[in-house]
Symmetry: D4
Subunit: 135 residues, 8 copies
């Protein structure tokens, strides 16, 4: 990874749909040369993918919450993680230090959806919920 | 927003660099028609931008942490938020319920960088740190 | 709902037995006109009922307590809620964020009644009790 | 206070606008006799007033919260209580055992109003907020 | 109970072996008159008994501890109380607010005795121990 | 200290006003011999005094509380201890492990007296109060 | 133990491989005399052994952690202690006051090893982990 | 570092005063060869020193404690660390995650010495103390 790669990553981080031509201009390389480098960054596993930044409120999200799930038995944490990380409401799911737990960031249409979610995950552990007031 | 818009969002969420042509194929519309809809989603503020999913470990990140910053005085929380949310190490910064605090997700090269960060933000409040063990 | 409705609600909030005539005077409408509006507020479900403000001490209440009931299993919280919310000692019963729990406000003749209550609800969860010192 | 008084209180608790005639019927007394007893219950300070049960959601309330305000200095708790208890958003305000604090139940139009409220009361102490998910 | 009774209680509180004659002198009554009053205070259940203030260190006590025993099931708290309150190491045993628990003050020859005690009472709940550093 | 001393202590612990004659009978010694031994136990500082066991409820005590006073500055804990330990409401006052604090057991006529007490001691630290429900 | 013994301990504490001759010089005794004293200190059980101070980072240790293991049942704490204290990752293992628990200091190659360790010990209790940031 | 170095470290870990000759025998090398390797391990900074394992009880230690010192201001944590880590009572001093704090392991002659220590370090932060019951 050289300085040009870092510059490419920086531009894509700001706008993942930036055209190769535009990136090329700012580092004085051709679009195909940039395309080759981007491909390499993907192949090396540095770039894992391209995602959207959405205004979730406009899509009907009214309740965002961090949920700390204190696992009943540490030995079942991996199972819990695999079940929970891929639920559609879940934005992030991380095992963190402190009490042995998962820290889940999830978005919901309303409090009812949050309650349903809490009931679903409570088979793995004891949830503690904090609502996001401002982001 | 109709079903086609939802389908477009879903495809871009999976790959924000998906070509308009490919999206068009799956909803049986032309690339320019898709382009127009994407533009509208941007103009309505539903799509806020396009970002990268990076393998931070490969970029030298060895310490990831959630930091709960319990603010000294609630009245200074907004200032703290504005100062902290845009620091380069910070991935997310949210005001959450429970103790009046900011919940900060930040990535660091090593523990030293984390310590420097803690010292910088401790002017606004009392930090509590949890290390991400697995994501 | 217009300004007159808001005025009616404000007057009834202060004194739910206020006569329709008195309310009418202050908004320059007839008693029957007020009666019609009150009926509509009831029918729309805005006014749910009329209640008493009592001096509970004079009725023999010596111990008032907030009880946080941390539910054993989130999936049983709804059952617990339904059983507890309608007990005669219970003034309020709300599911709140933080640890998954019910927040119960209840009034008791004395500490013995409180202890009996704690024992009864402990089948649903682990209680934490705070006594009201001043209201 | 005799059994008839208790019966009157019970009926008014269910519906504070119940007519004296109806109450009279159920205890086999005349409306004026009931009126006299109600007046005595008011004069003895047992009945403190008559209030409304409102559907706050229909009046635009989207965020209900319990806020525990841990007072900076116990000696200022009384001042804090007097300032906070009469704010329009406040439904209940009680000094409780545990950490020396006020337990405040308050209703807000949205999270922004809640944040403004937190900032206003944070001059007296450190707030801890729990959102009501279900009542 | 009159002022003379209060004076008697005050003198006995300072020295429970004070002679009736001495108490009598200070309230200008005869010893038999005092004896009669003391007997009445006992019969009314105001005086429950007479106890020693001991220097426990000189009797070999090296570890004094407050133990908060968080009961597994509130319904078993009474049983736990009855079993624990009369153990020889126990000085006080009270059910207190907060988490549903017993607050036990107990004295031990050494840390080993404390550990044995913790193991014995842990069948009723989860102990939390604080050592007395200074009294 | 021999077995006879231990027997004397045991009898006085049960009834501090036990007559020397009665104690003597049970250990087969004369009253004067017992008196001499008791005097020695006092002189060695093993017996610190004789106190009353009172029914505090019958003396008007309605609120008993444990108060954990978390000291503002450890260096002022000794001052706080000296001021607080001798207040008339205070039954016990101990410095304990955990957070640097005093654990105070105190008895009050009612909640108002407790509140006044909390305000008085809050100059030294932050109080946390638990009410005794059963002893 | 005299002053010379204390001096010997002090020198060995700084460098456990210090030669007897060097120690002897500083206390004006012969090497054999020092040897005899060291032997006595070992026989009395004052010196339990001689250990290395290692740079664990240079041996591949990247994660050091304190783990508080809150035991499921106090009666099983001794078993847990015996199993855990001798695991190779464990540097210290102590039963401490507060919640009935073991306080474990352990060193790991990486976070994965820590997670494996947490899962292994979670059969005895609930772990709470703190990472060492600086020593 | 090869297997022989690892074997040398293992033997020295068990007994830091092990003779080079004995180590040599077990790896089939001469004492001077071992001496050279040990020197290299010291020069590479892998071996930092040689220390004693002492029976502290026999040296008069009666109170061992873990003290979590929650620092007043994170920016002063480094100063606190430097002042505290080298005090004679201190065995370990580590900055750990969770609340921004130092975790101090220290040994004391008695509770009085512990109290003096708490008062000395309380200028840097708020101490929380746990006594070691068993090691």
């Amino acid at each position: 990874m050289d300085d040009i790669d870092l510059k490419i990553l920086e531009m894509l981080r700001k706008n993942a749909r930036e055209s190769l031509a535009n990136i090329g201009k700012s580092v004085e390389l051709s679009a195909p040369a940039i395309g080759k480098r981007v491909k390499q960054l993907e192949e090396k596993g540095i770039i894992l993918g391209y995602s959207l930044k959405l205004n979730h409120e406009k899509l009907g999200i009214r309740t965002k919450a961090y949920i700390i799930l204190k696992i009943h038995q540490s030995s079942t944490l991996k199972t819990a993680y695999n079940q929970i990380a891929h639920l559609t409401e879940v934005q992030r799911c991380d095992r963190i230090t402190g009490d042995d737990c998962l820290c889940i960031l999830a978005f919901f249409k309303d409090n009812k959806e949050l309650i349903t979610f809490l009931e679903r995950i409570s088979q793995y552990g004891v949830p503690n919920t904090s609502i996001l007031l401002e982001s």
